[in-house]
Symmetry: C2
Subunit: 438 residues, 2 copies
């Protein structure tokens, strides 16, 4: 959907003309897909204040470095509260101070309300631009009140209803306002079944609620039940996208904000850690193989076949792990269904283990002409697939209990287990049955 | 957020009481997280017509099997068009006929309009319950028109504006209707900058548009520019979630609709294929190792160390692959930035390769007391990490050109490459420099 801009060849005037036709979020997308040098060049041609809110955290942080605090302050004042707070949270602490000093008092108060809540809670997601009506007003009064406002906040599909003590009571749908008799009071028409979202609820739970109830916007209340803001679906969509990115990227040890075009040294450093962690597990596997050096020395065919057992275990275990991690993400894994799930995964692993054991055993027998070798390979495969299923269910549950992100660490721990069990089962069985001729 | 229901112990009356307190989508979530037997039991206690629209395709298909066509027909008539069409598409063809015969003519026409478009296009996502006004109407006339309607369609934030030939002209925001002077015409107040979405646009592109523009709903037009329906954000959220699930699950060769509690035999069959494909790649690797049997026979330390090179290549390649697949999903990989991305990934791989080569070489030298072995291991690691970066960028691009889903096939192809290159580089170098004593 994006028009190609050639930053190498186009003149500044031509670039400006191109950019003006685009939505700020489209410009943000283009910026994110440009190598650094071209990115900096384009950044000078765009309306920075408008584009800022649409950039991903990493790229935004990088581009804001050279913006003077007064310009950041100005940009922030034209943003939704939640976006403004997002931007502030990406700045180094000393810059935040400078920016906050440059904005006006009313704006400062507005930001403070949201900055008070952690970023990944309902409070951190909310906007404070809420239209409020009281239970005793008639619809006619509400319509008059709205007409006196110059402009309603964007994405207003509901008005929040409070009683005289500011306690949240329910919502008045704009569509109901348009179709009900004008003399009715708000109390008669409002929907009370929509519970307000507590400000401390996690962003993850907020997203689940929006999805389950097909909400467009929802009221947020503090612990006392006082209305403090509203959450709109566009911010929830961002949460859903960020969680999905996180699940996908962290399996490869990457950050969800990973910038495709970050400088080479930054990327090298970010990736080195993950390679280092995996190197440890690789050496663990090597150590296990080393324990069987004598066996390997005598039967070289074992070295040829041993990666098969480890690799199949890793694949089967990853399938189980993925199912469990996804189930946990959508809240479908409970204490009551875990035993059932475990039994099922073990049964599946045994069936698939026996089937593929037959296949690998046959191939090994034909290849190396040794019935014993085939039987050993097949048995090791069954053992490893069974352990892989066990690990695939238990590892994410255990990690969650330890407050370690299963999407990040699950894969490494799992393949460590399947490698070690795979190599030691195969080489161990071989040592007993091939070498000692039992 | 879900109340625990104990299907083993609770009486039917107790279950009914629990269920009545829940939103249909919460009931759907519970159904999906139950083993089959308990799922069937709960299904008998719930308002099936209401829950149907909220179930995932797989579970819905299974539960609908025993519903009589007349009941399905009744359920469908109370659903949004797009949900109704979703349900129909999950039924076997002969059941669809029976259901369509049982619904009334007007409803049949409504469904036909959407059934005409493929499921994963704007046309397949849209609803046809559109509120339409004409350019020459005054706001006062619009308000009167709305007030005559009993109820506005859910999630109506905009009215669609058409000219006298039914061509789409723009949208009238409900919030503008409430704040602008009543004597103004629709033409004066409507927003013309919102382009309609062409009915044949892919669901993926629709989701990107909604995200970029922060839309709540958008008009859909056919090739002639005639308004045919509207898409609301709740359906777009479903698309985003489904795509995210697909990306996550297909990496492990799983279907995004994979039912955690499907019967054991179904799951065993679904997973067997993936294991079989990976078994082929494992045997390919074994074949490559087999080529170096003589070398392995002479230096058993090679068997101990060889999985390290292959495994590190797989890890590094997966990082690159994940970045590229995600970049392709959000549309940030273009022909112009691919060469840059490739150069960068290769540079990163060389830097990380050299660094970790030093580490593994040192460990190997200390472990086996052979300088040569260490140098061979380090060199093989550098070669494999370089090839892994190359493969990580090129494989997904190549697969996309061949119209094969990179999220599904990318990982298998990549690890086949890194296994084969890893084993042959390490064992090949060892054959030349250790055995032949060059």
């Amino acid at each position: 959907m994006t028009t190609p801009i050639d930053l190498e060849k186009d003149s500044e005037a031509a670039i400006n003309a191109q950019v003006e036709k685009l939505h700020p979020s489209e410009i943000a997308d283009i910026l994110e897909s440009l190598p650094q040098k071209q990115r900096d060049k384009l950044w000078q041609c765009v309306d920075q204040e408008k584009v800022l809110a649409h950039l991903s955290d990493g790229v935004r942080g990088e581009l804001m470095q050279d913006m003077p605090p007064t310009e950041v302050a100005e940009a922030i004042q034209s943003m939704d509260t939640d976006d403004a707070v997002d931007v502030l949270q990406d700045l180094p602490d000393e810059s935040v101070e400078k920016v906050l000093q440059a904005i006006d008092v009313q704006e400062y108060r507005r930001l403070r309300q949201v900055l008070f809540y952690p970023e990944n809670t309902a409070g951190g997601l909310m906007n404070v631009d809420v239209l409020i009506v009281r239970t005793e007003m008639t619809l006619k009064q509400v319509l008059h009140y709205l007409r006196r406002l110059d402009k309603l906040p964007e994405k207003t599909d509901i008005l929040m209803v409070i009683d005289k003590d500011n306690y949240y009571q329910g919502v008045l749908l704009i569509t109901d306002l348009l179709t009900h008799a004008l003399k009715l009071t708000v109390e008669k028409v409002m929907k009370t079944e929509m519970e307000a979202i507590p400000a401390h609820l996690s962003a993850h739970e907020v997203a689940l609620l929006f999805e389950q109830r097909d909400l467009l916007s929802a009221p947020v209340t503090d612990e006392q039940g006082i209305l403090v803001g509203r959450i709109t679906i566009d911010d929830v969509v961002d949460v859903i996208r960020a969680e999905a990115d996180h699940n996908l990227m962290s399996q490869a040890g990457l950050d969800k904000e990973d910038d495709m075009f970050a400088p080479i040294l930054t990327t090298t450093r970010d990736r080195a850690l993950w390679l280092g962690i995996n190197l440890i597990t690789a050496f663990l596997a090597a150590y296990v193989i080393g324990l069987f050096e004598t066996t390997l020395d005598k039967v070289v065919a074992l070295a040829v076949l041993m990666p098969i057992v480890a690799s199949m275990g890793g694949i089967a275990g990853t399938q189980t792990l993925t199912i469990v991690i996804r189930g946990m993400a959508v809240g479908q894994i409970t204490d009551t269904n875990t035993p059932f799930l475990l039994r099922k995964e073990l049964a599946v692993s045994l069936l698939n283990g026996m089937m593929w054991a037959l296949v690998v055993a046959l191939i090994a027998i034909l290849w190396f002409g040794s019935l014993k070798l085939g039987l050993i390979l097949g048995s090791a495969l069954i053992i490893n697939l069974f352990c892989a299923a066990l690990a695939g269910v238990l590892i994410p549950l255990l990690l969650r209990r330890l407050s370690i992100d299963p999407a990040l660490a699950g894969g490494v721990v799992l393949t460590t287990v399947t490698d070690i069990i795979g190599f030691s089962a195969f080489l161990g069985l071989a040592t007993v049955f091939l070498l000692h001729n039992v």
